[in-house]
């Protein structure tokens, strides 16, 4: 496990562990409701009604980090789910089916009051319906129409002109679905939804993402990156899952402050930084040491992943007169922004230039098909911008087909050329 250079990183990990322990205690001892959701859901609606959420992708990353994915996925395959099915979004389901709280991270997931997901790819409704049946809990889907108006430089419009950026009919539809979801959450909690509370949360999210924006700017401008990519991810995502909360805002500020101190003091993450690398795609959760494996020999440091950069560009929404609509605009196009042309390729090239990237590694997750699209456009766009690309064929959570040594050797060969 790579060293943690920031105090914030340690505090983020401690907080997540304590938060989850509290969640389990609240569910088991006080019968409080919580929800399991896809990462691209409007978590703010749940938070506004005091329903904690566990993200499917966060839990999958936890399972993968504990090296439990092969065991759980083997179990899923043994039940007849063939090995060509997506793994990132189904690993948490597999952990539920395995049902071994002694082995599961932090005692495992308790029974939720609700599962909810956006129906982006065609398998998500199947994963969540199966999961809900296994947990004997209701599943609430949000359907997902496709985008048909896609101005390439979306991040220049998303903060102030979000009402124009995302098609009116898609926003209207998402808001209509939000109302149904809110009714469901009110039914579960017995509480009444407050638009003012949502607005306050959204303002908090803006504040939190502004701190992340400052961190990103420091990484762009500092002679050497002050914070490694995997520590960016730990700090950002710990806050994103609780976004808009007091803790999340305070943590984002503390993260910003600590990074600023390092920049002011001239403390780089890797003093021998010589090559700045970009990681495109979800994290390689079963082998995070991969991200520091090339520092010693090449001074090659991963400085960018989507997790920090997407915070300010994907989440900030100014003008909160209609907070539900603003939230809808944050929710409707996650997939297009991160995985589809022209939005993904245009944004990633822009990010690469701003971060002075020397080379990019692009995850090609064959075992998680919906995340595997858009990559050829991204790779070509990076190469056209003069940035060499190495595709990394691997699954983000499934270590069964992963040969870490072989892949590190491929990267060595690639970096020799760079």
């Amino acid at each position: 496990m790579a060293e943690k250079q920031l105090q914030c990183t340690l505090r983020a990990a401690e907080h997540q562990k304590a938060w989850f322990a509290q969640l389990r205690e609240d569910v088991f001892e006080k019968q409080k409701p919580y929800a399991i959701v896809q990462a691209d859901m409007p978590l703010e609606l749940f938070h506004a009604l005091d329903v904690p959420v566990v993200s499917n992708q966060w839990w999958a990353a936890m399972v993968a980090a504990k090296r439990l994915a092969p065991h759980y996925l083997d179990g899923l395959n043994a039940l007849g789910y063939h090995d060509g099915l997506c793994r990132y979004c189904s690993l948490s389901l597999a952990s539920t089916i395995a049902g071994d709280p002694a082995q599961a991270p932090w005692g495992g997931l308790p029974k939720p009051a609700l599962l909810s997901a956006r129906l982006t790819c065609d398998c998500i409704q199947r994963v969540f319906e199966t999961w809900a049946a296994k947990l004997d809990a209701p599943f609430f889907p949000l359907d997902a129409p496709g985008a048909s108006e896609l101005p390439p430089r979306w991040w220049e419009l998303s903060r102030y002109r979000w009402n124009e950026l995302f098609e009116t009919h898609r926003l209207d539809f998402m808001v209509a679905q939000f109302h149904s979801l809110i009714r469901k959450l009110e039914e579960i909690t017995g509480s009444t939804f407050s638009l003012d509370r949502l607005r306050a949360l959204m303002e908090g999210v803006n504040q939190q993402e502004q701190y992340f924006d400052e961190v990103r700017e420091m990484i762009c401008r500092a002679p050497q990156t002050p914070v490694r990519m995997h520590e960016q991810v730990s700090n950002v995502m710990a806050a994103q899952w609780l976004r808009g909360s007091e803790w999340a805002i305070a943590h984002a500020k503390a993260f910003r402050d600590e990074v600023r101190q390092r920049v002011d003091a001239g403390v780089p993450a890797c003093p021998s930084e010589n090559l700045r690398l970009m990681w495109v795609g979800a994290g390689l959760w079963h082998d995070t040491d991969f991200y520091t494996a090339f520092e010693e020999q090449y001074g090659a440091v991963f400085v960018w992943s989507m997790y920090l950069a997407f915070g300010p560009d994907g989440y900030i929404r100014y003008g909160l007169d209609h907070p539900l609509r603003a939230l809808a605009s944050r929710t409707v196009s996650f997939n297009e922004q991160l995985h589809n042309p022209p939005w993904a390729n245009e944004w990633i090239v822009d990010q690469a230039k701003r971060h002075r990237i020397d080379a990019a590694l692009v995850l090609e997750p064959l075992g998680t098909r919906p995340s595997a699209t858009g990559n050829l456009f991204i790779e070509r766009a990076l190469e056209n911008a003069g940035i060499p690309v190495l595709p990394v064929v691997a699954d983000m959570v499934d270590a069964r087909g992963w040969n870490g040594l072989e892949m590190r050797q491929k990267v060595h060969t690639f970096l020799e050329r760079v």
């Binding site: 063939h82 199947r126 319906e129 359907d143 985008a147 048909s148 209509a176 050829l376 456009f377």
Partner: protein, 360 residues
């Protein structure tokens, strides 16, 4: 083979995209409303080119895309697509939405040319919101097609298109009846061709040929062999049916839009046309995105009691139906209906299963 059967089979196998009386509009799935395009004055044609189109598509489409989508993509960026005024792509699968985005992108970047892509945002979750949205998007599609045609769709045009579509459905259902019951007269590999030809033909012309084909089929003796239902990703060639039938079984049904579910019910000619067209495609068209499972599974559950066995055909590129398989398998086990799951076309495995059915 009679002239009608021969004509339909040839159309199905060749899948021609050639000039007709009206301008052509390509469609990529069963969920694009044929009648709406027809009423606007165009000839809708399903795009289903062969695998010869695959290599160039792989410059843009990742390996995770299906052969079918790769072939369509390459066809659309080839000179052969110049006959199309536009292509309507429904939000009926994630891969089709990405096909739409990729197509737009290669044109935006100026690296390829393609017909105008039109996204038809038909959703398939059964919710009041998705239903209302789908109706609104169907009206938006009407507007887009009218703009493309340069005129509004007249009520008579709607009536004529709906009548033509329904006549074709009626003819398809009559053919499908010859696969039903204890003594089917039409095997799967032939049925797929006779039914699938509809996607590449004028509705009226198809209905005429299909009625003639039916007369010959009615005169045939029943076909012997265990009756098989196939469940898996849509089967757009007769190859798998032929492989099953080579082992002595008869494929009498497929739970997909190329086979037994191609026709469905008629469009209600007594309703307001757009509402009626939308309801047909929203409530009665198979799609991998139909939700919840109780709705998606209903056809399968109704029809498996009419067959001797079920083959789950889940080829290597499947990443969807594999999620349904354990649930559907449990349904069959509860009813003691024999089944097998195949990930490729293995004559040995098919043969073992057919022998099992023959031996009771």
């Amino acid at each position: 083979m009679t002239p009608a059967i021969s004509a339909l089979t040839n159309v199905y196998l060749q899948r021609p995209v050639r000039q007709r009386d009206r301008p052509l509009i390509g469609i990529t799935s069963n969920t694009v409303p044929w009648e709406l395009i027809r009423a606007a004055g165009f000839d809708p044609i399903l795009l289903s080119p062969g695998p010869q189109y695959k290599p160039s598509a792989e410059v843009y489409l990742e390996t995770v895309f299906s052969q079918r989508i790769k072939s369509i993509f390459h066809f659309l960026i080839s000179n052969d697509s110049a006959l199309l005024r536009a292509v309507v792509i429904p939000r009926t699968s994630e891969q089709e939405h990405k096909l739409y985005l990729y197509l737009r992108e290669v044109v935006r970047q100026g690296v390829e040319q393609a017909p105008q892509p039109i996204l038809y945002n038909l959703l398939h979750a059964r919710s009041p919101e998705a239903q209302a949205y789908g109706l609104e998007r169907t009206r938006a599609l009407q507007f887009t097609l009218e703009q493309l045609a340069g005129h509004a769709i007249e009520p008579d045009a709607f009536s004529a298109a709906i009548a033509e579509g329904n006549a074709a459905r009626c003819a398809m259902r009559a053919l499908l009846q010859q696969r039903e019951g204890p003594a089917p007269k039409l095997n799967g590999s032939e049925a797929l061709a006779l039914i699938g030809a509809r996607y590449f033909m004028d509705g009226a012309e198809y209905a005429l040929h299909a009625q003639q084909a039916l007369q010959e089929i009615l005169a045939r003796p029943p076909l012997p062999g265990p009756r098989i239902l196939i469940k898996g990703p849509p089967i757009d060639t007769p190859d798998f049916c032929a492989a099953v039938e080579a082992q002595g079984a008869i494929v009498v049904a497929e739970d997909d839009w190329w086979g037994s579910r191609a026709a469905g019910r008629d469009i209600d000619a007594g309703m307001e046309p757009i509402q009626a067209i939308f309801e047909k495609y929203y409530f009665d068209a198979p799609s991998p995105r139909v939700f919840p499972a109780v709705v998606a599974d209903a056809w399968f559950q109704r029809n498996v009691s009419e067959v001797d066995g079920v083959i789950f055909h889940l080829p290597q590129e499947d990443d969807i139906i594999g999620w349904d398989y354990p649930r559907l398998r449990a349904f069959l086990d509860d009813r003691a209906i024999p089944h097998v799951m195949l990930r490729d076309t293995s004559p040995d495995e098919i043969g073992v299963f057919v022998r099992r059915l023959e031996n009771g």
